[in-house]
């Protein structure tokens, strides 16, 4: 994977602040080491015959701090690569999508805010659409179709076939089904409904969308 890393920073001549990668990276490591040492302050290092719980982490934190400082210091001796301005759009939306998934998959209460659990049927489409906008090429319709076809596939695969314990449907949807339906039957019915909507959207849009896509590509 690293081989594809074509030296970020080498091509950022117009970046307003020119900070070296090594300075930022090294100082971050020193900060992590300091945090670790602070968290370990109350623990006992023991002795070599009877190692305490703090011995190994403390040694490691000191080592990390020294290496971090070396990396940071190296930025003063030779000009390394410049840190490119971090993009905002991608990371923000990706993190937001993950947080949305976490918040909706099952009941959540944070202080005074509480959300009912929505299950995978809501969590997955929401995070797909939010995450999709992390790139500038995002097209809403395409993402909705993706969400409405991928979600039921996951529901059937993980919930029906593999029996993983992931909440699938919220209570409000389950209440819509007549009594006597089993969990799995409800799951299959909702998945089928979503797939149907996805199919309708896909076929109603093929002509115009494919035309757009051709032009855009």
């Amino acid at each position: 994977m690293r081989e594809r890393d074509n030296k970020p920073g080498s091509a950022a001549p117009d970046s307003p602040v020119r900070v070296s990668q090594n300075l930022v990276g090294g100082l971050s490591l020193v900060a992590i080491a300091a945090l670790a040492l602070w968290l370990l302050r109350d623990l006992d290092a023991g002795s070599l015959t009877a190692m305490g719980s703090a011995l190994m982490p403390r040694v490691l934190a000191v080592g990390l701090g020294i290496l971090g400082a070396l990396v940071a210091a190296s930025s003063f001796f030779h000009r390394g690569l410049v840190l490119e301005r971090l993009p905002l759009r991608g990371p923000t939306l990706v993190i937001l999508a993950i947080a949305t998934f976490a918040a909706t998959i099952r009941p959540l209460s944070l202080g005074s805010v509480s959300l009912p659990g929505f299950g995978l049927i809501v969590a997955a489409p929401l995070s797909i659409v939010i995450c999709g906008f992390a790139t500038r090429d995002a097209r809403l319709r395409e993402l909705v179709i993706l969400a409405l076809s991928l979600t039921p596939a996951c529901m059937l695969l993980f919930g029906d076939l593999l029996n993983l314990t992931i909440p699938m449907l919220p209570d409000s949807i389950m209440a819509l089904f007549p009594d006597g339906w089993s969990q799995k039957a409800m799951l299959r019915a909702s998945a089928a409904a979503m797939l149907a909507v996805a199919a309708v959207l896909f076929f109603s849009s093929t002509r115009s969308d494919v035309g757009d896509a051709r032009k855009k590509d």
Binding site: E3, P8, V94, E142, L164
Partner: protein, 500 residues
């Protein structure tokens, strides 16, 4: 010899069972799929699929996960040849000459020789594992905590030396990984270490969470910043079988690549990733006319492709015999084994022979399946390559979320893959490589445990590591390696290998 045949026939009887055959096929298929798709690697995929293995028996689970790993090595070459993007890190070198061959209309031959080379390498590596398994396991039983600790130190040093870029940065990443592994309850004293008092950190950081964050989410973030241009060869792929002359040219490179790959794969510390680079450099040195390299030399496809497949398979050896994972994929295998109640180590072979030999036999069967999956079905994979990344990454993200949530049913795990992903992305942006960090994390707990035991045995004397002969030898090797890597001349040579 007789026992080897008896063992292998036991293995084949297990691996040829209908369920295991099916699971090997599923593993190889998924492996090829993610190998073909750039931006999804085996680490993130295996982490995503860990919960799927809950409902399987241990042998079946490991057969499937192993199939994903070596299947990805096959699939990666397809993308490298046809699109000039390495589908996997190990197929970077293949892209150089493989794609050049494709541009000259020899895509079929390149794909063919890659698959043939990989199959040959896979066969040899399987036999090597079978042959080395028993003696190495015996040797491992002689290892005490002192030797284990030194062996792991050597593994980490290997990882530093083999990683690209600055040695100091790689060392720092190892330290960070080791440090992260100490988060959580200390098993010996019961103390909470660096948990911020949060219950979800009491058990420490889950390896699957860290791996998925760093290899799944951070990878998405990195790819988002890069423009998507896929130079898909539109010309027909042509005949898949290489011509007789091409076969003759590739024979020696395949043999050398297999040898190199097998040797690098056994090294603790993710040697497999370097094997294709070494093979490429070697072929170029040995070639009559090195200027053909980069313009579509078939040797430069045959050698590295054999090397990466051999390396992927022999990297199972340290895990199966010593219980030490050599890379992130093997660490996930440890996770899968632990979930099934199996403690990896030398006792697996004696205590659970059907698992051990079944897995080895399935590797050969899997390689045979991959030949079929890859060659005749190549048209299907080409179609798949036309899926744009803008539709791929939301799917990867959701699979990551579902996968990690279903391991422990913890919402915090989901949030943590985001956090580690972001942290990993920033580290990558600062020129740090996450792979050594993961290895440090994987070995951290084992190292601390063995260090503690070794020190108890030696009554607190650190000299035990240099007075015990095996341990001293291992440490000497690591020291020499590190010293050699710092020597300027060799450094330059190493950078050249990576620059190509």
């Amino acid at each position: 010899m007789d026992t080897l045949i008896a063992n292998l026939s036991l293995g084949f009887s297990v691996a040829l069972g209908l369920q295991n055959l099916g699971l090997a096929f599923v593993g190889c298929l998924v492996g090829t799929l993610i190998g073909v798709l750039p931006g999804v690697g085996p680490v993130a995929t295996i982490a995503m699929l860990l919960p799927v293995t809950f409902s399987l028996d241990p042998t079946g689970a490991l057969i499937m996960l192993a199939g994903i790993y070596y299947g990805a090595q096959y699939g990666g070459s397809t993308t490298a040849i046809l699109v000039n993007i390495p589908g996997e890190a190990t197929s970077v070198v293949t892209a150089l000459d493989g794609h050049a061959m494709a541009r000259r209309g020899r895509a079929g031959a390149a794909l063919g020789i890659a698959a043939i080379g990989s199959f040959f390498a896979g066969t040899v590596a399987t036999m090597l594992i079978a042959a080395l398994g028993a003696p190495l396991t015996k040797a491992a039983l002689l290892f005490g905590p002192t030797e284990y600790f030194s062996l792991m130190v050597m593994g980490l040093i290997f990882a530093v030396v083999l990683a690209g870029g600055s040695i100091v940065k790689a060392l720092a990443m190892i330290m960070l990984g080791l440090l992260l592994s100490t988060v959580g309850t200390d098993l010996e004293t019961g103390d909470q270490r660096m948990t911020f008092g949060q219950p979800f950190l009491w058990d420490g950081i889950d390896f699957a969470v860290l791996a998925m964050g760093v290899f799944g989410i951070a990878e998405i973030l990195r790819n988002l910043g890069q423009p998507e241009d896929r130079d898909l060869v539109r010309a027909t792929i042509g005949r898949l079988l290489p011509s007789r002359q091409e076969m003759r040219q590739s024979l020696a490179p395949i043999l050398r690549g297999t040898l190199l790959g097998s040797a690098f794969g056994i090294l603790p510390g993710n040697g497999a990733i370097l094997a294709p680079f070494a093979s490429y450099a070697m072929e170029k040195k040995l070639a009559d006319d090195p200027s053909r390299f980069g313009k579509g030399a078939i040797e430069a496809v045959a050698g590295p492709e054999s090397a990466n497949n051999a390396g992927a398979q022999t990297s199972f050896i340290p895990l199966l015999t010593l219980g030490i994972p050599a890379n992130a994929v093997m660490a996930l295998m440890v996770g899968a084994m632990t979930i099934q109640g199996i403690i990896p180590g030398p006792q697996v072979m004696t205590g659970n022979p059907s698992l051990f030999w079944g897995m080895i036999a399935s590797m050969w069967i899997g390689n045979l399946m991959l030949l079929i999956i890859n060659l005749p079905l190549v048209g299907l994979w080409v179609k798949l390559l036309q899926v744009p990344y803008r539709l791929l990454f939301p799917a990867i993200l959701v699979f990551c979320c579902i996968g990690i949530y279903s391991i422990n049913a913890q919402v915090t795990d989901v949030l943590f893959i985001g956090l580690f992903g972001l942290a990993g992305f920033i580290l990558i942006r600062c020129g740090f490589e996450p792979a050594p960090m993961l290895l440090g994390f994987v070995l951290g707990k084992l190292m601390e445990e063995n260090l503690r035991r070794a020190l108890i045995l030696s009554r607190g004397s650190l000299t035990t590591f240099v007075t015990e002969p095996i341990s001293a030898g291992l440490l000497a090797v690591s020291f020499i390696l590190l010293a050699v890597a710092i020597v300027p001349n060799i450094r330059r040579g190493r950078e050249e290998v990576f620059a190509e």
